[in-house]
Symmetry: C2
Amino acid sequence: MAKKEFTVTPYEAEGKIDYNKLIDEFGVERLNDAVLQRIKKHTKELHLFLRRKVFFAHRDINWLLDQYEKGNKFFLYTGRAPSGPVHIGHLLPWIFCKWLQDKFGAEMWFQFPDEEKFLFKQDLTFEDTNKWMNENMLDVIALGFDPKKTRFIIDTKHANIMYKEACKVAKKITFSTIKASFGFTDSNNIGSIFYTSMQAVPAFLPSVLKGKNIPCLIPLGIDQDIHFRISRDVMPKLGYYKPAIIHNVFLPPLTGIGGKMAASGANESSIWTTDSEKDVEKKIKKYAFSGGRKMFFEPDDKKLQRIHNDYKSGKMLTSELKEVLIEKINSFLKEHQKKREKAKSQVDKFVNWN
Amino acid sequence: MAKKEFTVTPYEAEGKIDYNKLIDEFGVERLNDAVLQRIKKHTKELHLFLRRKVFFAHRDINWLLDQYEKGNKFFLYTGRAPSGPVHIGHLLPWIFCKWLQDKFGAEMWFQFPDEEKFLFKQDLTFEDTNKWMNENMLDVIALGFDPKKTRFIIDTKHANIMYKEACKVAKKITFSTIKASFGFTDSNNIGSIFYTSMQAVPAFLPSVLKGKNIPCLIPLGIDQDIHFRISRDVMPKLGYYKPAIIHNVFLPPLTGIGGKMAASGANESSIWTTDSEKDVEKKIKKYAFSGGRKMFFEPDDKKLQRIHNDYKSGKMLTSELKEVLIEKINSFLKEHQKKREKAKSQVDKFVNWN
């Protein structure tokens, strides 16, 4: 077998990712203009992550909008497996979720699968995952989710409502399927083998708890798609809708090389949400090799185009571009860190809902 | 490979079981006189299930008694996977547990792994397991366990305290081990593969909840031993004692042929705890081919010996022996069914302890 140019699974993302190839390989659909216009019909404007193709693919969005237009509102489901601090790349899909919540009046179920990384990383303890979960929650809350419409679901804490449902999913998935899908072997631990059933649960848990079938939209990184390629086959067998999915690209690390901006270890090229102004300045100056990718901090398309043109023509120097970027990121982080502080008193509302 | 004369796993028990061979094969120790006398030092008398070798093997009982003699009391752990009614064979280890609870003042953790049979039986639903669990609990309570010292632990209901601990166990067990131990294949569902980690949890859960290491004694059918052959290796790695185990034989079905008295299906040769006097009479007359094995309903060793002798010599006819057995079983069941009714108002105390 020829060596693949890139690999994308929940447990591995390597090489320069070709998103066009991914669309074919994963069997997802491109988020084309027709779909974008259909979304816009309801949202009036298109979020810059839609305009700029940060979200680039989907499954069943048209079905979801059919349901919505019939008055059958959907809920949102996304999540974060805690094992380290949050960097600005992690915030992207969550910022988009918050926008979707506002535009569609949708409930948000935000999962913290605190056992996932524990099961996959030899040295990680539940003390570690718990510490990072508490930190990560602040970043999510800081983005402004409506506490009345947002529920945090923690796998170990809420297992009394999740485990039974996970067993229903698990009963319909063989190890053969897991092996083929995730590349696992007989040496995988039995917790890691079971895990995908827990990740499936929030996609239909509101339907279980409310006793009626509710459509679900999952905004998530394309690397997580495989979990739902499996569980989307299972859910109709349990009497629930297949969740719709909208996929985002990875935010490349500041050095501009492929792959994810890694959360693991002390990757100096990542910008953490708790970084100081000085940290950001140092990192951008040292690592950011091109400002062209840093499109997330300039909401104005025209301004962004002008910066792009000026930089291309040589009118704007790399050092000047970096200054703009430093200023943008620091002003975002200043605000975020303020809200993050305030979030500390709100955690309880998001967690203790059952 | 030569066809084995018998097979004993949690998911299969076939053929005429040779308990001597099982002792070698499973690597357990015989419950010999020295051990029995050591137990008797504390209990003053020996339960008839010990005298008559219904419990015939063990792991680490001497260590457990060392601990007990040092003032380090143990708790008991056994369980019942609900998928059908309880027959009198099921009651044996539980009756013995109740005796141990009384004699050693031990806490009893009684697990109802309501997901187990759900995961292993294609057509079984959680509605089924829930229905049978509610029935089975009445049989357990009817045996007289101390409600202040007995906790029912239901896997799906108590998963919020169990699942995290199960993940710690699961992280240390590979699918290779499960394959080799249970004879599973890649076609097993991923819930059944994970399940043994849930069965391990009650053996150290009291230690987790009380924040100190507490010895555990598990009375259980020899067919369940394999679960703990695996998890006994794991528990010390998590900082807990290996549980001690005491193993019972199967109560053969009334027809006297090998294997377990099956709980599944409408096995006419089993006597259920809810059987009427007429049911019992009919079944004994139709199926019980020898009273020699029905030793569990005559506590007096001498009387039993006399019955045995009279039957051997022809002084007592099969029909007379059957009459004795019918009377004994019906008098036991009459009392049991009365207590079973009363148990209905006590379930809550056993279940809602956390």
